[in-house]
């Protein structure tokens, strides 16, 4: 009977001791949250930093950009993350939330670019798309092809319907779901860009901006656009199995799978490393991370981690981040942000 009681008392004691563990008083590793797009790059830097210095390897959670800001802006103190990664710039509403929770000084660091590609299997020919084609093929509502200003539910079934120069294949696009940062960037860059190419939609932007955003950001739901989940590897596998389908994902996945898939030309620029770096490829977005200035001297290793990330051997044109598919910034921008990081200049 006494034997039976031992685990019970142990459990009770453990519970009690856990209850008394109030917020940890110190933390000896950096805690990073945020975008799943920046995750593959931040993790490489973290690993490099952990192995080459005496510090512990930072912990990186992939929560998505929005989820990252939510955690990041929750307050100052060791129980809150020190850095959040993001595949978009911080919103003014998020800066406000941060301020109300006492996170007054945030340092913004742009780290490079990521391209979003539309790719298909190598078993078929490469596609030559324009932003307008992309809009017409994927928007839920498009201008009536018979003329007139009214919007009708998207009638296009094949790529040839959209543009006679395109192949006579069914429109079947595998892309990210609305929770994904890639989707946000895609609708903003490709769909809005495509909408601007159409006069009636462009006119709408001046008259009724909200309506314009709604039209451009709403993707068709009639089976021609398939939400394939957040796993880009899965999209690549599906493209390999179905040569008629087109997939939307980040450039790093194209870079790793050049033997299976090929990126479509968009506005006659192919998604290559150079094309995106020079800013010619239209669907590319900047990547960021944000640092809580108040933590910089509290958490051990923060400054070293920041200098590792902003060193030429990491984010430079020959750095190890480019090996992982990140597109570096021009030298001038790199210098500017490296300087910001050194002085921890907060955003105004």
């Amino acid at each position: 009977m006494i034997k039976k009681l031992i685990p019970l008392t142990a459990a009770v004691a453990l519970l009690a001791s856990l209850g008394s563990v109030q917020a940890q008083s110190s933390r000896d590793y950096i805690s990073i949250v945020g975008s799943s797009t920046v995750y593959p790059f931040a993790t490489v830097v973290a690993e490099q930093f952990g192995k080459s210095t005496a510090n512990k390897t930072p912990k990186i959670e992939s929560t998505g950009s929005g989820g990252g800001f939510k955690l990041f802006c929750a307050g100052v103190g060791v129980e809150h993350p020190d850095i959040t990664n993001s595949s978009r710039a911080i919103k003014s509403s998020e800066i406000e939330t941060c301020k109300t929770n006492g996170v007054a000084e945030i340092v913004e660091v742009k780290i490079g670019y990521d391209g979003i590609v539309l790719a298909n299997s190598k078993k078929t020919d490469v596609m030559q798309l324009t932003l307008k084609d992309i809009f017409l093929a994927l928007a839920k509502e498009v201008p009536d092809p018979k003329g007139g200003k009214t919007l009708v539910p998207n009638p296009y079934k094949t790529w040839k319907d959209v543009n006679p120069d395109l192949p006579d294949r069914k429109i079947e696009v595998l892309g990210p779901p609305p929770t994904s940062g890639t989707r946000d960037a895609f609708v903003e860059l490709a769909m809005e860009g495509g909408g601007q190419m159409i006069d009636s939609i462009k006119a709408m932007k001046k008259e009724d901006e909200k309506r314009f955003t709604a039209v451009c950001h709403t993707i068709r739901e009639d089976g021609h656009y398939v939400e394939a989940g957040e796993n880009d590897n899965l999209i690549v596998q599906k493209l390999d199995a179905n040569p008629d389908a087109v997939g939307i994902f980040g450039f790093s996945f194209l870079d790793q799978n050049t033997d299976k898939v090929q990126g479509a030309f968009v506005d006659s620029v192919q998604p290559t490393f150079e094309g995106i770096a020079e800013g010619k490829y239209p669907i590319s977005r900047p990547l960021f991370f944000y640092v809580k200035k108040a933590h910089a001297d509290v958490i051990p290793g923060m400054r070293e981690y920041l200098s590792e990330f902003t060193s030429e051997k990491a984010w430079g044109p020959d750095g190890y981040l480019t090996d992982k598919g990140m597109i570096p910034m021009p030298e001038k921008e790199r210098k500017k942000f490296a300087e910001n990081v050194k002085n921890l200049t907060p955003i105004q």
């Binding site: 459990a11 050049t258 020959d318």
Partner: protein, 432 residues
Amino acid sequence: MSNAVSEASKPEKPLRTLDIVNAGLAKRYRAERRFRRLGLAAIIASLAFLSMLFADIFWKGHTAFRQTFIQLNILFDPELIDAENLAAADYNGFIRKALEREFPEVSGRGDRRELSQIVSPGAAFILQKQLRDNPELIGQTLPLWVPANDDVDMLMKGHIDRYAPEGERRLSDKQLAWLKRLEEQNKIQKKFNKTFFTAGDSREPELAGIWGATVGSLYTLFITLLLSFPIGVATAVYLEEFAPKNRWTDIIEVNINNLAAVPSIVFGLLGLAVFLNFFGMPRSAPTVGGLVLTLMTLPTIIIAGRAALKSVPPSIREAALGIGASKMQMVTHHVLPLAMPGMLTGTIIGMAQALGETAPLLMIGMVAFIVDIPGSFTDPSTVLPVQIYLWADSPERAFVERTSAAIMVLLAFLIAMNAVAVYLRKKFEHRW
């Protein structure tokens, strides 16, 4: 009158029950054969799916247990090493020099960069460790096996087609020629992949291992077992042996059964709200993971425990009470020992369930990139199924085989745990 009708309709031979049975017999046998065949077909189909799954995982994953290594003659140049500060030496430089000695004809910055890319970027850390453990190596030249880059590894394992046009593969023609020369000299070989079993996570597939996640799983499960077993057993004993049968115990019983069917993510949200936000426990810690998984496995253990207690015949209880045992003595001396095998089985199955769970851990920050092997219950850590999920989402192709290999390891743990459950049941089971 009625008599006359019945007389007329009477057949020549009276129809006996046996005849009716006999007439339908063939049909009944057919139906039975059909039913058996359907059952058999169902089993064969499920076995086929299972073996397809296993075969696929094994086929994709078995290559991960071997890793390509390249032999290099490394000179630990005393002029470049500060004996006081070993960490500061340029280990990448040693590797570059060794490669240049191996291929003296390679010149030009681009070519040299390509040459250094055939070796894993983690090789420098291996040299660093080697030197730290044996400082007397300074000044010596050693033939060392260092891991090859993941692309080279994929080529050696046949996952990259070396005859594809140059632009379509991740290795250039030059790199292929160098590798071929190394192969001819027997300086590139596949060896047992020890790193996979001893290292934590890494973004370089050739350096990534599952030990970090395994340790995290062990810590988490330890907490889960420590809490859920005593609480679960105590609940089951109280509800089954002591609690009065009234509306309140009925409500509790219904709730426990309902909890067993609640999606696990809900427990994660609860953990986030209670353990992290209210008690302020650390994020990503096995302690919190264990607490959340305890909530999840408790219903399983309680239900199995009550079933085990119910199967103890009432005669045992009555006999114990009859010779003057108190109720508590009856439970602890007789009923509980007899019910224990069933309770243990339920616990192990609950643990196996907890081992395979990711969703509740997502909310409390255990889905994270963690390189260092956790050293305590409050260190940030991750668990095996999360590691599988993270690798499955990585762009590098070499992670495909590692994902499958990690699944194999997880399956091995699950099969072992279930085998223990079966063994316990067979060994200690009582039949009345």
